[in-house]
Assembly symmetry: C2
Homo-oligomer: 336 residues x 2
Amino acid sequence: MTEAPRRQPTLDEVAERAGVSRSAASRVLNNAPHVSPEKRRAVQRAIRELDYVPHTTARALATRQRGAVALVIAGEAPSIFADPFFARVIVGASAVLEEADLHLMLCLAAGDRSRRRLAELLRARGVDGVMLMAVRENDPVLRLVKETDVPVVFGGRPPGSEPPWYVDVDNVGGARHATEHLLACGRSRVGTICGPPDTQVGRARHRGYREAMILAGLRPVPAERGDFTEPGGVAAMAALLQRQPALDAVFAANDNMAAGALRALRGAGRAVPGDVAVVGFDDLDIARIADPPLTTVRQPIQALGSEMARMLVGLIAGEEPSSLILPTRLVARSST
Amino acid sequence: MTEAPRRQPTLDEVAERAGVSRSAASRVLNNAPHVSPEKRRAVQRAIRELDYVPHTTARALATRQRGAVALVIAGEAPSIFADPFFARVIVGASAVLEEADLHLMLCLAAGDRSRRRLAELLRARGVDGVMLMAVRENDPVLRLVKETDVPVVFGGRPPGSEPPWYVDVDNVGGARHATEHLLACGRSRVGTICGPPDTQVGRARHRGYREAMILAGLRPVPAERGDFTEPGGVAAMAALLQRQPALDAVFAANDNMAAGALRALRGAGRAVPGDVAVVGFDDLDIARIADPPLTTVRQPIQALGSEMARMLVGLIAGEEPSSLILPTRLVARSST
DNA sequence: GAGGGGTTTGGGAGCGCTCCCAAATGGTGG
DNA sequence: CCACCATTTGGGAGCGCTCCCAAACCCCTC
């Protein structure tokens, strides 16, 4: 504000100062061949002296690539993004993107207006690629990304479709392990609090539970449905207890609901893990803080982000990566 | 992938189809005056028929504005972003930005490399403005934003400096209210678990506590220092109890530490709120889930985001907004 | 019917970069 | 010493848009 609004120097000015042509300067900038060592040095000096920084937008226009990718959170309301899950995905992704010198745009694409903006962003080639998460069944965003010709990597699979490129977490396997763990602890009347059935995560974790039960020769208990929130977990656990009073273990499809279950069990006078063992899923902070600390299935959230980014960078570079399912790991604590 | 790689139509093509000049088409696009109604209609029809979308990058180059702003999280490690706080700021900000038709870039500017990239982004005019958060004392990022000529809005104030434009939360007032609430509950031996003193938030909340004590004619108890984490809260509470066994209330500078305090108190056999009342700060999920649910100071996180965005949009438009301190609100639950 | 005001209109010159291509340069072999 | 090939070099034409400006146009008024 104090100084004159001095313009940023342009490549022409660099070239002039170095006594070479703009083309030569451009070659040095992109360290392309066909520049004599002396000229190269001269240009480098000029760049340093003028404190030159290439104008990204101009470069983007000329090369037809933007140097940025978008992370799109579909969901039904922008507030879905408040889930700490996404923040950790971003931490993972941004490290990889930084390596590839790509910037990250964040689009909370809930609602018509933001979807229209996303559509424009894609059509106008505002980004070189997209990472897409929290897509629901028949989400209108699916049409948008189908029409675009920039590469799209999904995080998780939307229910009812198998995108060409995705990174997902082994929800089925994780849920199966969690249930098997309960069985291995000597429990046999294992119930489950499942997630909303219109989410792929909800479905997959429920399936893992059923698989484990059937494999063990037990009859799956009808699931009580939660909404991935703690209060939802309280309500579901209460209902489950009423329906199956003899329950000796519960697999909850995420930690929030497991924490709710803990609270409901305490309210009902059942000891954990004495009377009822509880396993959650996610291994968020709440699992460690819960009382008793929750045994849970840790999913590699940050790795999900970094792998998505890696895959996208590969696609942009013209490679043909293959989709990925990341393993989960059971973390045993005192709730079992 | 199935279709030919048909190029997006350009404005020239629109103009040609509408039988007008490129200039006229451009005017219609930006609905500028000096276009006859018929031509306007013709252009609009051509746009619709060709499914034309203006090329953002070209426009950016011509107008010298990018149509995007950056949210920069300074911090010392990228993982600071995993704090759910930022996610809610983003939810607030992105709604306002969407209204202003600005895109959001996210920069986790910890470490030299990412700071260099940020510097380039600013110098190369990759964004029209910046929202800046989690800046530490003497953070190198301060120099970067001082040198840039795009507007910068701070979220919170970095310790030791008063930025020209900021949105902050009334941490002092909130902490004072929290402490006064404890006093109003009939407590008098009120201790505090404070945050790291090199954060503005830590300092401000500690100050609010001291103000309330002094105003009430009481001697502030020397604070026990935590690090804003739950385990940190456990340790601090244990230390505090040892030092001040007669304590009957604690103000913790955030909910995580308050939850830790709860756990430590339970471990020490003190009833909450019977023996010791506890107040936290933030009103995150954990406050509601804690046992007993925490009385806490709610800060308007989403509003922080939206107000930052609003201020930035104003600055970009050439206005001269004034900085803002958002009020907090005490939420009474069962820990007091 | 010529002169004057205002409003359209379209050509052209950018914005700052990349990249193609033709010309210049330099080193080699016959 | 010249022809010939491989490099290096710089001019110029984009990329797709905005915006200035001069020319064209329209409608009055005198």
